[in-house]
């Protein structure tokens, strides 16, 4: 398929992300306040549930790959992306990575609701490692890409969820990332914007950037991904080509 990366280039590409035996356990404590803690004191050890959201996940990702991460709801996809992005730490195992990383995790990038779109653009690009001057340069094209010029000086708490994602996506693709993590955010964009995102992603592929994509759309996965990883209850149950991955995904629903 033309959209996918050239296998000859991929073969000798350097590794950009390496996960080794990554496990993540969540402890779910229901009580958060002092009163609840005191009332449940002693019992609380027994009353907390813990479960593994990720278990011994290992893989390597080579530069320029587009990798699809699929699985049933609650299988650990978002958790894995957060671990890869360094936003949460694994209980076990290590994640190594190199290059600049931009992440679009679930709904809403790291925006501050009380600040305007403009201020959030500067805040976010600074977080992603751009200087003020670099952001000045990119600012107009970020706004153009997101097509929300009218609202750029409105506080983002008044944005619709689609506008939110437009701005977040526009920032993420303008900070020149080597690795882009995308977690289902494209689903809330309207059709023209989704198409725009797709063509941007294709351009990214051509530029040799690495993309890790979580999606529930089989069409998107088939279209974009060189490789698919299927998660089920925190375990990697399949790691290979897109067609096989989608088959394994359907199988994993049965468990």
């Amino acid at each position: 398929m033309p959209s996918q990366s050239d296998p000859r280039v991929l073969a000798k590409a350097p590794t950009v992300v390496r996960a080794t035996d990554v496990s993540k356990r969540f402890v779910i404590r229901k009580e958060k306040s002092l009163k609840e803690r005191i009332v449940n004191f002693g019992r609380s050890q027994k009353h907390k549930d813990d479960f593994w959201a990720l278990r011994n996940v290992s893989f390597e990702i080579k530069a320029g790959t587009t990798i699809g991460l699929v699985g049933a709801n609650g299988s650990g996809k978002s958790t894995l992306l957060k671990v890869l992005g360094g936003i949460i730490q694994p209980n076990d195992g290590t994640v190594e990575r190199r290059g600049r990383l931009a992440a679009l995790l679930e709904l809403g990038a790291g925006f501050h609701p009380d600040l305007t779109g403009r201020e959030n653009v500067y805040l976010n690009s600074s977080i992603l490692g751009l200087s003020r001057k670099q952001t000045d340069e990119y600012f107009q094209s970020i706004v153009d890409f997101s097509e929300i010029e009218e609202f750029i000086d409105t506080q983002v708490k008044f944005y619709s969820s689609g506008m939110y994602v437009r701005l977040a996506f526009a920032i993420a693709v303008h900070v020149d990332p080597d690795i882009l993590l995308v977690d289902e955010v494209l689903a809330v964009g309207d059709e023209p914007f989704q198409a725009k995102c797709m063509s941007k992603i294709r351009q990214f592929q051509a530029e040799g950037r690495t993309i890790i994509l979580v999606s529930h759309s089989a069409g998107q996965i088939e279209d974009l991904c060189d490789r698919v990883v299927v998660l089920s209850h925190g375990n990697v149950v399949f790691d290979g080509d897109a067609a096989g991955g989608l088959l394994a995904l359907r199988e994993s629903f049965e468990h």
């Binding site: 990366s5 050239d6 280039v9 000798k12 590409a13 350097p14 950009v16 390496r18 969540f26 958060k32 306040s33 002092l34 009163k35 803690r37 530069a63 320029g64 957060k82 671990v83 992005g85 360094g86 936003i87 949460i88 730490q89 694994p90 290590t94 994640v95 190594e96 990575r97 190199r98 290059g99 992440a103 995790l105 809403g108 990038a109 790291g110 925006f111 501050h112 609701p113 009380d114 600040l115 201020e119 500067y122 805040l123 976010n124 600074s126 977080i127 992603l128 200087s131 003020r132 506080q155 080597d178 051509a206 530029e207 040799g208 950037r209």
Partner: protein, 314 residues
């Protein structure tokens, strides 16, 4: 096209791998790694401080004037009620300068701790989405507290100059020393409490109450002379009182800026002797700074242990 991809691949292959931050915190050197990491995010820190200040007064028309109105009203209350009605001003020359000096420094401390403690939770939106050295949030809160402190400082200095009380002496050196010590302790507690607050939300309310109490444990609306008179012969009580680094810093701050405290003045026909400032003040200040740095170090270590789970607990 392919060349751009190849160039990127080549550049990436020469970069070293970064391991997940997980490995860092267990070592003593982690403290310095954290400092270096924060230093490399200076520009962001600057932006966050602006954001803190901006979003605080965003929808108000008087804007940042509010950061002045509050302490001025406080000054008025303490001056009128505590000073004149209850008579605390009797033995204290230039009572307004005295109170405002104490309030200004105390404001720095209490605001650093109060906003710092809430900072991690209130920035949950960012923490859940992007990786940053998270110490940056209590530090940004500190930055905005410093800004408010400086605004008040300008008012205080203007008042001192207008009243012709500008103290030109070596005592002025106490001012930066007191500022630094308050900052060290404020940041230490802000860092520690902001992390604990993620796990136990009551902390942020507890802090407010404790700060209310601590206000009266420092010589802000009553003078050092009053404390000395109150303890009578039990001088060891004074030592206990001075163990509080904030009380000590406030004394030093007053000693630097409140000229009347170091002079013999005549008030309503009575002669008021200068304050009997604590002995070895320099030594005590140095000790408070050193101990403060140790506490800050420990606070940061605890913070970095706890921060791994911030994103999932908020």
């Amino acid at each position: 096209m392919a060349t751009q991809a190849e160039a990127r691949a080549l550049r990436l292959s020469e970069l070293p791998f970064e391991t997940s931050v997980n490995a860092g915190p267990k070592y003593v050197g982690g403290f310095f790694t954290a400092i270096r990491e924060i230093a490399s995010h200076r520009e962001l820190l600057d932006l966050l401080i602006r954001r803190e200040l901006k979003s605080r007064y965003k929808d108000s028309s008087l804007g940042f004037l509010w950061s002045l109105i509050k302490p001025l009203v406080q000054l008025l209350i303490y001056y009128v009620f505590i000073g004149q009605v209850l008579g605390a001003a009797k033995g204290v020359a230039d009572f307004a300068i005295f109170v405002f000096a104490g309030l200004t420094l105390w404001g720095l401390y209490s605001e650093t701790i109060a906003t710092g403690t809430a900072s991690i939770v209130s920035n949950g939106g960012l923490i859940k989405k992007v990786y940053l050295p998270r110490e940056i949030f209590p530090l940004a809160a500190t930055g905005s507290a410093i800004f408010n402190f400086l605004v008040q400082m300008v008012v205080l200095l203007a008042a001192i100059v207008l009243l012709g009380q500008f103290p030109i002496s070596l005592n002025l050196l106490y001012v930066p020393a007191a500022f630094v010590i308050v900052l060290i302790w404020g940041v230490a507690f802000a860092v520690l409490l902001s992390a604990l607050n993620v796990y136990l939300r009551d902390i942020q309310y507890l802090v407010e109450v404790v700060m209310l109490l601590l206000f009266w444990a420092s010589p802000i609306v009553y003078s050092w002379g009053f404390v000395v008179a109150a303890v009578k012969n039990h001088t060891w009580l004074l030592e206990v009182y001075l163990l509080n680094p904030i009380s000590l810093s406030i004394l030093a701050f007053q000693r630097g800026l409140w000229q009347a405290g170091s002079q013999t003045r005549v008030l309503e026909g009575r002669e008021v002797p200068p304050q009997d400032w604590p002995a070895y003040m320099d030594l005590r200040l140095a000790a408070a700074a050193v101990v403060g740095l140790i506490v800050l170090f420990i606070a940061q270590r605890i913070f970095s242990r706890l921060q791994g789970n911030f994103a999932q607990e908020i």
